[in-house]
């Protein structure tokens, strides 16, 4: 048992995942599910650190490491990561692709290990492991577009890891400690903002990349829609929520995060309105949900942090439910584009029902999970009397209703009938979706179970008359607005198109702008190569000429010449010795 407790949580998935290829192909999916369940059981029984207790410390190369820290903040993330891993593994039971099973398991295990890391070096190792393992879920689509998107994804993710490592090293040099704790200290301010050290800035930017902050966000919408059907479900759960956890651990109460979070809730909803690829709509929606969590971290009160953790917990489940339902459509129909879909409720009734539960949960309908978690963050903004933040979060809530509550189910399963008649999703996909849908309902009704997992004891009651009525007003009038816009023909029609985002900068602008420089370099390079080759060639020709039969080195010399030179050498040496 001692040995087991020295291994980081999630290890069965990492270690077992690597050896999944030893199983016959048919058994790999089941094996992956078994590993996820085993890891989940072990995690459930892992003792939780109480207040004031510190994790076990190991010394390595003179640095103090705390590889395992399961406390009240990391435990809920570890638990929901395990739930997501199990549900995703069930969803992928039909897949016969070794790469994807290994990548999915190692990725999930690494994310769990990372959220239980007590020091920056352990965090870095798992941080990079999530990046390297997850990219295979994008590449497994086996299309050229997916390959390139995977490359871009990998560069961004590994870059984030390098920044984290830089921050960790600076931190170690400056303070001699690698502990991963709150970087924000009360009191010191710079331009009205809490001052944080250069090390903390590096770490913050590393987290910001993984958390898809505005302008650093586009790797998410670029890569997730290009991953495999099952891969996207894995991807949607871990990377970004690991970043949310890390922010909550290191930067709770850091004021600029409130502004950043507000922008993050707003801009993706506008992109989501006009996006045609429903998986990309969900990626924007994911970005918007992260915004709510970042606002919660920025506010940093006990209620806000609780709200962030609760929202991450619920979000992972309903977001994977949405990705699963759209994935099932993609799996059966062959496309997830709104222009090609519609009327699928007739042939995929169960998938439709599960999708609508997910859509209701993300929109925050009472009795579903989003209602009991999002409201904590909005209330936290209210408690702190942040009027602007409160208004922004309300607008964002109406936006969520637009893209995830209405657009996803409406255009996939209703709208104009595309005439497509397909089979219902396979049994394992339906099972995975039903578990997620049940969890959405269960968390919405039995919310005290969720609240008990949260880091702080806070007395919060989501089901007050005021809250239920106002939330329903917001959602139902948003739905009414949708009907009004549709009836009046003002709702923008879905169009087959690519919408540009910040990825345009590094996919088009920079390559074009550096075109001139490239040409110059090519020119210089070509000239140098040309001249070098010319010199080399003439040298070779000279050697060849000298060594051939008539060359001055190669030809046969007469004995008299040799005798003459030998005599000359002797004469020279005689003169030298004589003097």
């Amino acid at each position: 048992m001692n040995l087991l407790s020295a291994l980081p949580p999630g290890w069965p998935m990492i270690v077992g995942g690597v050896f999944l290829w030893l199983l016959p192909k048919r058994a790999q999916a089941g094996g992956a599910l078994g590993l996820a369940i085993l890891s989940g059981l072990l995690f459930w029984f892992t003792p939780v650190l109480g207040d004031g207790e510190t994790a076990k410390t190991f010394s390595m190369l003179g640095a103090e490491l705390q590889p395992i820290r399961v406390d009240s903040l990391s435990r809920p993330f570890g638990l929901v990561f395990h739930i997501a891993a199990i549900v995703s593994a069930i969803y992928a039971l039909h897949v016969r692709d070794t790469r994807q099973h290994i990548a999915g398991m190692v990725y999930a295990g690494a994310a769990i290990g990372a959220c239980c890391a007590g020091d920056l070096m352990t965090l870095f190792v798992f941080w990079e492991l999530t990046a390297i393992s997850s990219v295979f879920l994008v590449w497994a689509s086996d299309t050229p577009a997916a390959y390139r998107a995977g490359m871009r994804y990998l560069i961004v993710q590994v870059g984030s890891g390098v920044l984290l490592l830089t921050g960790a090293i600076i931190q170690y040099v400056e303070t001699g400690s690698l502990k991963f704790e709150l970087f924000v200290s009360e009191g010191q301010t710079l331009f009205g903002v809490e001052a944080i050290s250069p090390a903390a800035w590096c770490v913050l930017i590393a987290f910001a990349i993984k958390c898809a902050f505005p302008l650093l966000h586009n790797w998410l919408q670029d890569s997730y829609p290009k991953a495999t059907v099952t891969g996207t479900v894995f991807l949607s759960a871990f990377t970004t929520k690991l970043a949310v956890y890390s922010l909550a651990r290191g930067f709770a109460g850091f004021d600029p995060l409130i502004t950043v979070g507000c922008i993050m809730t707003l801009f993706p909803i506008i992109f989501a309105v006009i996006e045609n690829d429903l998986r990309r709509v969900l990626a924007y929606s994911l970005n918007n949900q992260l915004g709510f969590m970042v606002v919660g971290v920025g506010i940093g009160t006990e209620l806000a942090i609780n709200g962030t953790v609760a929202h991450a917990f619920c979000h992972i489940i309903y977001k994977s439910l949405l990705f699963m339902s759209v994935g099932a459509v993609l799996f059966r129909v062959g496309t997830a584009k709104a222009t090609e879909l519609g009327g699928l409720h007739k042939s995929m009734p169960w998938t439709t029902a599960f999708c609508m539960i997910g859509a209701g949960a993300i929109s925050g309908f009472p009795l579903l999970s989003g209602f009991v978690s999002k409201s904590m963050i909005i209330s936290a903004a209210g408690e702190e009397h942040m009027f602007g933040v409160w208004i922004v979060l309300l607008i964002a809530s109406a936006g969520v209703m637009e893209h995830s509550g209405i657009k996803i189910p409406f255009f996939a399963f209703f709208a104009h009938d595309s005439g497509k008649r397909v089979k219902e999703a396979p049994w394992n996909m339906l099972l995975a979706m039903s578990i997620a849908a049940f969890s959405c309902v269960a968390l919405g009704i039995a919310y005290p179970l969720l609240y008990r997992l949260l880091p702080f004891d806070v007395d919060y009651h989501p089901y007050t008359i005021t809250h239920v009525v106002t939330q329903l007003q917001l959602l139902m009038f948003a739905a009414l607005a949708f009907v009004a816009l549709m009836k009046s023909g003002l709702y923008p029609a879905e169009q087959r198109a690519v919408n540009l985002d910040t990825d345009w900068v590094y996919r088009r602008l920079i390559p074009k702008a550096t075109r001139g420089g490239q040409v110059a370099i090519e020119l210089v390079d070509q000239t140098f190569r040309h001249d070098f080759l010319l010199t080399l060639r003439s040298g070779l020709r000279m050697v060849q000429r000298s060594f051939n039969v008539n060359g001055w080195i190669g030809r046969t010399w007469s004995t008299s010449t040799m005798a003459f030179w030998a005599a000359t050498l002797l004469a020279i040496s005689l003169v030298l010795y004589y003097t």
Partner: protein
Amino acid sequence: MSHTPPSDPSWFERPQNIRRMIIGLVVVCVLLVLADLFYENPHPHFGKVETFFGFQAWFGFIAFVAVVFLGTLLRPLIKKPEGYYDPEPENEFPRLDRPEDNTSGEQA
């Protein structure tokens, strides 16, 4: 995959049912606004705004319309044809709805 014209309208596609659903939605909306008359917010954070009659109702409506409107404004700025980045058609998956084809997974 069979491309049948929607000659088999489901319950959700019959015009009279669509009308019923819309009427139902309007009734629910009216009732929700009227509900504001029967309770009082015990501790509003932003007194004047939060307790304004039907605040979240009309706010939700306007916010929704504004988001959609901004989307339509944004579209002409960022819209490009589908093959803009990748010359081949973007990442369409092979169709997998063949009967009893649960074994080949996404490898097909």
